[in-house]
Symmetry: C2
Subunit: 198 residues, 2 copies
DNA sequence: GTCTATAGGAAGATAGAC
DNA sequence: GTCTATCTTCCTATAGAC
């Protein structure tokens, strides 16, 4: 592993940390486990990161970004309001069913972050970002379909975000992907029913 | 602390563990912190519990029970379907706003449990129990009001449970109790709208 | 920068006197 | 049963040779 720049190593370590966390949980992602996963010696850790917390911040940033990049982009395109929402929700759900452990990790990370003074704001910002993303989706839909929402947008955005989050969490812990998918379809229909022609 | 039966000590330690977990998180609830909170010597721990896992199982059982005892019991009584649901949801929400850390602990505990082989089934059972509780609420309402639900009951129960869970989690991490409360009111109206006269 | 070796502390669990 | 002292293991972080 000679002659690999510290910057590249940082990325390799962040990726390795995410793999370990997905496989065994945040608690199992010790510095030893992470450098082991990346095939680096233990000492490499601390000239790439000042501390474990610094790594965690970068892990959270990486996870949040990949999620947002994919966040309900499928509501764009043709079709009625309900069709678009259904398409977006189902694309999200496919991802959850295919990679459940990746989604479990997002919950685990915010929880972990919420308990450490230095990371609490990071957790809060992460959730605020999800809320903002869903708000933007609602705004884009209203714009494209020339409608307004019959419920205040912040309330509807929170309803939407909480619904998706809650049904996902319930599925991760209890199972039954089919019923959960049906509940999400119901959610999309429900949101669509709040559209009023402007 | 002489002459206190091991059985009483077990209860004292479970209560102490819950206090520590609410205050500082599940990760901070070490055997030392727990016996310290209960004003007992370290050695007491292991003649009250075979292991830390045994304590955790009892903590989870205690938390789940206190939550279920209070679960939406307020939907009984007078009023229309929507009034009853609003009453139940608001009673729940009052509790969340008054004791947020207690609710945060339930999420933290299931997550912790979901990662340990010996406790995974406990986490799953906990969520299944919440789902069953909400199903019973829906059934009781349908019965009392002589209606049927226009959506399959398992789907509606999952929708309901996920919605409440998700909005709560979002509030705990992001804040804004007022908007969150409004979203829960919306949830109650929404569920009520699925009633069809039998 | 890169690695080996180790410091320094905290965790769960146990040994053994009383 | 009850408690003190201790064992073992694993953690983050650093020291110091190359």
């Amino acid at each position: 592993m000679a002659h690999v720049s510290a910057e590249v190593r940082r990325e390799l370590l962040v990726d390795a940390a995410i793999r370990v966390m997905i496989r065994d949980g945040v608690g199992a992602a010790t510095t030893r486990a992470i450098v082991g996963e990346a095939n680096m010696p233990l000492g490499a850790f601390h000239y790439c990161f000042r501390s474990k917390q610094e790594l965690l911040e970068q892990v959270i940033a990486a996870i949040t970004n990949t999620h947002l990049d994919r966040a309900l982009e499928d509501v764009t395109g043709d079709g009625s309001m309900e069709e678009r929402l259904l398409r977006g929700v189902r694309a999200y759900w496919d991802h959850v069913v295919r990679l459940p452990e990746e989604h479990r990790l997002t919950y685990e990370l915010t929880q972990y972050a919420a308990r450490r003074p230095g990371l609490r704001e990071v957790a809060q910002r992460q959730y605020a970002t999800y809320l903002a993303a869903h708000t933007r989706v609602l705004e884009a839909l209203a714009d494209a379909e020339h409608i307004t929402w019959s419920v205040p947008e912040p309330v509807l955005a929170r309803y939407f975000t909480g619904l998706i989050d809650g049904i996902t969490l319930l599925y991760l812990n209890e199972g039954d992907a089919v019923t959960a998918g049906a509940s999400l379809d119901l959610a999309a229909q429900q949101i669509a029913s709040y559209a009023r022609s402007a």
